[in-house]
Symmetry: D2
Subunit: 341 residues, 4 copies
């Protein structure tokens, strides 16, 4: 058997651990051969491959990124894309494909599966917003990075009288903000699922100063105010006429300063949340995803993806992951309201 492997979408700690798990078990237990497709779906689309064997995966377990490269290329959006992908798979005599990626990557996989390609998926999202699995790898790493950042801000909050705003990832779901905000002991946590009331946020901020402690505000990049409207990029051109990028974090700090008269400072963690070595949890989960994905291939259980359910790795239909975004349930958010303000 010849198995193709690709990684698509954004960077995520644990991708290499998945690849290693697939290859080690595929070669050693089932005597499979592997072909690495480069840069996500661009690989099979443009026929770019790389060697993928046991020596190639040596030492990659603790490394962030992906040795296969990644891209957001979507063959469904390319004229004749699906046909070119299937032709290139045939050219390499690929018996089955393992696609590791998020909503978009798995969406393509599901479409190809319907078109007869034998494919198994591995769900990947730093934001933890894929349905059908308790967690995905990379999320725990991101949460730990954000939590450590919040930890460091606490000592400054104790010594100074400043509002400290931390902007974390999460365009559509607030999982990183909620987990790191709770783990870090933040006083305000703003997530996309709950448009926030700026007056209430400022009230919490002022309460906090009353007990002689500066507030820490964690805000997901996709959080929005309930009223008024967000400044869009176009509203804000600089002196050169270029677009000024300014995220919700800086906007919020500016608003809080303006309304409460307290100095506010912003930390924007950006891509450091998705880079670097994975935590032990993410390596464990990613390794098991890899081992179980290749077992699904051996079982001929195509059109499925591996998923975490409790402490078990199970299989779920590929379309489960892409049917809807898994957002933070209101009841979970409210569970923590004693910590706010």
């Amino acid at each position: 058997m010849r198995i193709g492997v690709l990684t698509g979408g954004g960077d995520c700690p644990g991708l290499n651990a998945v690849i290693r798990g697939i290859v080690r078990k595929g070669v050693q237990s089932y005597d499979y051969e592997f072909v690495g497709f480069c840069d996500g779906w661009r690989g099979p689309l443009e026929n770019q491959t790389m060697r993928l064997d046991v020596p190639a995966v040596r030492g990659i377990l603790p490394r962030g990124g992906t040795i296969l490269g990644s891209s957001r290329t979507n063959p469904l959006k390319v004229e004749g894309g699906v046909r070119r992908v299937t032709e290139n798979l045939a050219k390499h005599e690929i018996d089955a494909l393992v696609a590791i990626g998020g909503e978009d990557t798995l969406g393509v996989a599901a479409e190809l599966s319907r078109a007869g390609v034998r494919v198994v998926g591995v769900p990947k999202t730093i934001d933890n917003d894929l349905d059908g699995t308790d967690y995905t790898f990379g999320f725990d790493t991101a949460v730990n990075i954000c939590t450590e950042a919040i930890d460091r801000l606490h000592t400054t909050a104790e010594s100074h009288r400043r509002v400290l705003v931390v902007e974390v990832m999460g365009r559509h779901a607030g999982w990183i903000a909620l987990h790191s905000g709770i783990a870090g002991g933040a006083n305000v946590i703003l997530i996309p699922e709950h448009p926030f009331d700026l007056d209430r946020v400022c009230g919490w901020v002022e309460n906090r100063f009353k007990i002689n402690y500066a507030p820490i505000v964690v805000v997901a990049e996709g959080a929005v105010p309930a009223t008024g409207r967000m400044v869009t990029k176009d509203d804000s051109l600089d002196a050169f006429g270029h677009v000024r990028l300014s995220g919700i974090g800086e906007w919020l700090a500016s608003e809080i300063e303006h309304r409460t008269g307290k100095e506010a400072r912003t930390t924007v963690l950006g891509h450091i949340q998705r880079g670097g070595t994975p935590t032990a949890f993410d390596r464990w989960l990613a390794t098991r995803f890899g081992l179980h994905a290749i077992d699904a291939v051996r079982d001929g259980d195509f059109g499925t993806m591996v998923a975490l359910r409790g402490t078990d790795i199970v299989r779920a239909p590929l379309d489960v992951a892409t049917a809807r975004i898994k957002t933070v349930d209101p009841s979970l958010y409210e569970e923590f309201d004693v910590f706010f303000g």
Copy 2:
């Protein structure tokens, strides 16, 4: 309502996060008063208490250890112990008790519950060997500490020609060894559930050198060889006639050196695995355990403990946790055999 809280047994990162969750929600949502009992069951046994209110739990979330202190005192093993505990609880007008601890602590809680004390348990074990819950807090921290140690050994393994043995916690269950060994990319993982064959271990060690790479061996402190017998403490007196402590790690390194002729070095992580700040996962889990434990008190759901099931916090009978030790299933251990040797 007046609620007593105590923490028993060994140190575990996340204990303070549980206490903070209990007190913050108890005071702010339900207007409860709290009494902290010092040093586990010794507190109610010897009537030692401390103040436990919102200011007392400020800033403790990221701190290891427990502000209440701990001990292994067991009132069931003390003449009239249960009576003294119930009398002291009555003296402080305690309406309900939250007991945070492992097998022993929850065993006492279960016994007191049968004797009519209104008690809710929170399961705690660094070793992850309590039944009835997917995970307990502290375990993820321990696994990360061990994984980081293994990571560091890899660069030495690449540069030198030495066998590197790491001894980790786990007297009866190999969870820490298995998780950190897999996450760290160890070549040999020895756990109490599977008595090991020393010849096979030495074979793996020698295989590893053949591909020009020194082996890393992770061994749980409770692992035992399948044949021959372990040296006991009494076999080994030093020149002063005192007992020489020597764990399985040093014994194993010595045996491997003797049999393979390769130099071996040992790292014994000891108590650093159970100290220091908890990971984000452990703070999240411990905080939720605290919030849900006080909800169980409010619901009058006594004789239960909180537990993790998937991503949900549920309640389970107190005796579930103490009925048997949760060990590593053979099928899980075998899942990883492609990585050994």
Copy 3:
């Protein structure tokens, strides 16, 4: 003898280690009594003090921030400020004062010293820009935090095709940017001492893509372009008419995107650089500064500050530290030019 202690200016990891060193040695070796003045010079100005003895400094060694609090209050800028400070020192029967702080704090100390107050200084600056000492505590911690952030960006740089910009502290001196940029393997390092040529930066960025690797740009917050002019805050009002804060990091990312057509992303580390637990180096240096400062008091060597010279702690006149800002020498910056671009 009664000794006053205060900490002024911005937060800096190691402040508590200095305080602990002063108090432990002062009490145990010289039998001194201590008075803690709160919030920098505001303490002696407004007569706010706190208890400062051996129990008060227990456990503070690894903690960021300062137990004495801090402020930027400057008694030289307050009508009758110096007189009020000296009166309050007299009121508490202070025989000598230890002032821990940066340019401003030590400037006040120097002025008070000229006015006859017996004062010893301890230099503090996260930016490492105080003259007269090889290093100050807090700097090593900041550099490590920035370096870890850059490390994490490398894996993303390998997997994606994005320019990654990291904005670090340093208004007047580029020490943090230079040290962390070199330690992190950045491709472009921009510091206040060397106004940068945007075309050259974009050239470096494009070179980097040619070898199939995305560039990492480290920029000190005080770095400025050599030509053109920076957008000022006033140029940029948002849709609500409020000032939009946007630092050099986001401005630079926007310019690079505009000029090279490559996507750019920004990380703004902000206050996390000055919070949290100090590194071992900073704890060692801060502890020694504390021990030597109290020795200077005992020796009656007032009007001086402690300083690091090689591996020795020496004493320097207080005004040395405040005479000029220690900036990055051009020859040091050029030492690293093989790594740029």
Copy 4:
């Protein structure tokens, strides 16, 4: 010009950063070619080389270990060794050699230099015991690893009533024990330079319990008791007749238990102190050592090594480093005596 490079002796974080600095500057600024000799002096002795160019050093800055491999092979102890080395250097048309290593490696370099080989040295010792330089790379990393371990033990020390012993590296010099012990707030620090009085150690241990806090004891592997004698390996055979390895840490814990009646636990950090990614300080220092070593080659300044003096990199005669071991001065050790006991 063709330059040979080799790394000898024990593992040390920063070796790769030195190699990268040498090659980047040598190739880009001076147009040198490089030959990597494998495994220390074994490389030129047995004519084993590897490719060493700019692509070969890409990405190695943050990685522990050494891409060139290392060994303790000493050509001075091999019949005809020096001649074979010089012949092999000639065979590869080596114009100059950069030798990175400790006492032994630099001792060989000094000898070869006297025999006419054009050699520049870079001092390396995890233990910081080489004379002629303020610090060497790797030491700061080791100290931070030990300090983090001690930090974690503090929370356990607060919750339990156990003596916690940490054994760290340092056969002949106590630098790691002293720096990490002070940075970690240990209560007892034992170093090879000061044979310890076991009664005094036990007195300190008991004092500590009186203030309700368990003691942390840091002991260098080469520390020895002043009276009585250490158990040697030969005194201690196990039930199989094999040598039992037991270091000073476990011996000390056993003695303290025996004499004070308090439980004691040991952590033996072992090789994790010399593995893994270097700190920012070590990367900075190692990078500068590399850049300056190749400058020394260009200047024809052979028979020297680079060294740190304050914040400057200087050159020192090769024999300075090997003339004597740099030990902890009694006055420095006494500087910290207020923290003991």
